[in-house]
């Protein structure tokens, strides 16, 4: 796997994503999702909301890097808050 040029941070990042997917799979098996409509203008399942929040989180980070010089962890906290809001009320 040396050719993949792993770093501890990217390994942690992908581990989080994989854990999230496994967690969602287990959650789905234990209590299947019911599509519902929150503040987002469409009916979403739990998986849809995770996708939307992860995509949003990626854009929040890109926007943070493009438009501010402030520390990135502030952007990460905003992205985390966004993730919680979408998963809970989206």
């Amino acid at each position: 796997m040396a050719w993949m040029a792993w770093t501890p941070i990217t390994a942690a990042f992908f581990s989080c994503i994989i854990l999230m997917l496994i967690g969602m799979g287990v959650w789905q098996a234990v209590s299947p999702t019911v599509p519902r409509r929150g503040f987002l203008p469409l009916t979403t399942t739990r998986g849809d909301r995770l996708f939307i929040s992860l995509l949003g989180a990626a854009y929040i980070h890109l926007g943070w890097l493009a438009f501010t010089d402030a520390a990135l962890w502030i952007g990460s906290i905003i992205a985390l808050v966004w993730l919680i809001i979408v998963m809970r009320w989206g």
């Binding site: 993949m4 770093t7 941070i9 995509l55 990626a58 854009y59 890109l62 493009a66």
Partner: protein, 290 residues
């Protein structure tokens, strides 16, 4: 609600999962790893954090290439989709004309991308190409190697020539699936030609059109070979689209880190646009059915 009791069919998806993992997910993970490092060779690499992303997001040439790319893709979609629908509507429904038009329409799709570039490179030349010669004969000063606008139009026309057939064939398949009873009912109601198109043909073509537009969006947003062969990205940078810019960065200058960061930004743009488009169109269809 019907509960699914047997999930064994999911095991049949495993081979596809492995193929996608090897061909897409693992390379994508590698790109993510590259994007946060300065790589000199496999053994010599340094972690640089988000430096490449900051550099790429502030790059003026990248912004220009992105704007060019968006204008190009929008032009392609605005020309190819209506044109494809119009051609599909005029195709014969039965008789020998069906096979003849299918073969003719499929021809451009069978030609490899680099050959398409070469065909148009020669076709557009004023000295040996038929197209370029005729246009110059009409008194229009046309030279795609020197004039940015000519180069731009040539690349656009080339794409329309190459890919409109795809939209036509998809729409035609959608149109063929409409039972005659719909048309008969419309006739009894005295529906106009426009009403038949708007309320029968267009909704029935919706699912194939979504696929067609998504394919054309992704393909034209990633276009590389044809402009590379035809104009080499020139004159100047007039037809340097995102993928060519990226290739120049990654393979030409061997800036693997910035190229990887840029690839991820590029990937996120395509992912977002495709998802928004797919969601909007699919939800519009659901509302129409209710």
């Amino acid at each position: 609600m019907n509960k699914i009791t047997n999930n064994k069919a999911w095991f049949l998806v495993l081979p596809v999962f492995f193929i996608v993992a090897i061909s897409a997910i693992i390379p994508l993970m590698t790109v993510v790893n590259y994007s946060v490092q300065d790589i000199f060779d496999p053994q010599t690499r340094f972690f640089v954090g988000t430096e490449w992303f900051e550099q790429v997001l502030a790059d003026r040439r990248l912004h220009d290439a992105l704007i060019r790319q968006i204008v190009y893709t929008m032009s392609v979609l605005f020309i190819e989709v209506p044109l494809g629908i119009a051609v599909a509507l005029t195709l014969p429904r039965n008789g020998w004309g069906v096979s003849a038009s299918m073969v003719l329409l499929a021809l451009p799709l069978l030609i490899p991308w680099n050959v398409v570039g070469t065909i148009w490179q020669i076709f557009g030349r004023a000295d040996i190409g038929l197209g370029g010669y005729v246009i110059n004969l009409m008194g229009i000063d046309y030279n795609y190697a020197q004039n940015p606008m000519d180069a731009w139009l040539t690349v656009l026309v080339m794409d329309v020539w190459h890919w409109t057939s795809l939209i036509v064939l998809l729409c035609y398949a959608g149109l063929r699936s409409i039972p005659d009873a719909y048309y008969q009912a419309a006739k009894i109601d005295g529906a106009s030609r426009w009403a038949v198109f708007r309320f029968i043909q267009l909704p029935k073509m919706q699912s194939v059109l979504v696929i067609g537009v998504l394919l054309r969006f992704m393909d034209s947003f990633m276009i590389y070979t044809e402009p590379f062969v035809l104009t080499g990205g020139g004159p100047g940078n007039a037809t340097t689209f995102l993928s060519q810019f990226l290739t120049r960065m990654a393979v030409g200058q061997f800036d693997l880190g910035p190229a990887a960061a840029f690839s991820l930004v590029y990937f996120l743009i395509i992912l977002l646009v495709c998802w928004v488009f797919y969601t909007v169109v699919m939800n519009a269809g659901k509302q129409g059915e209710q």
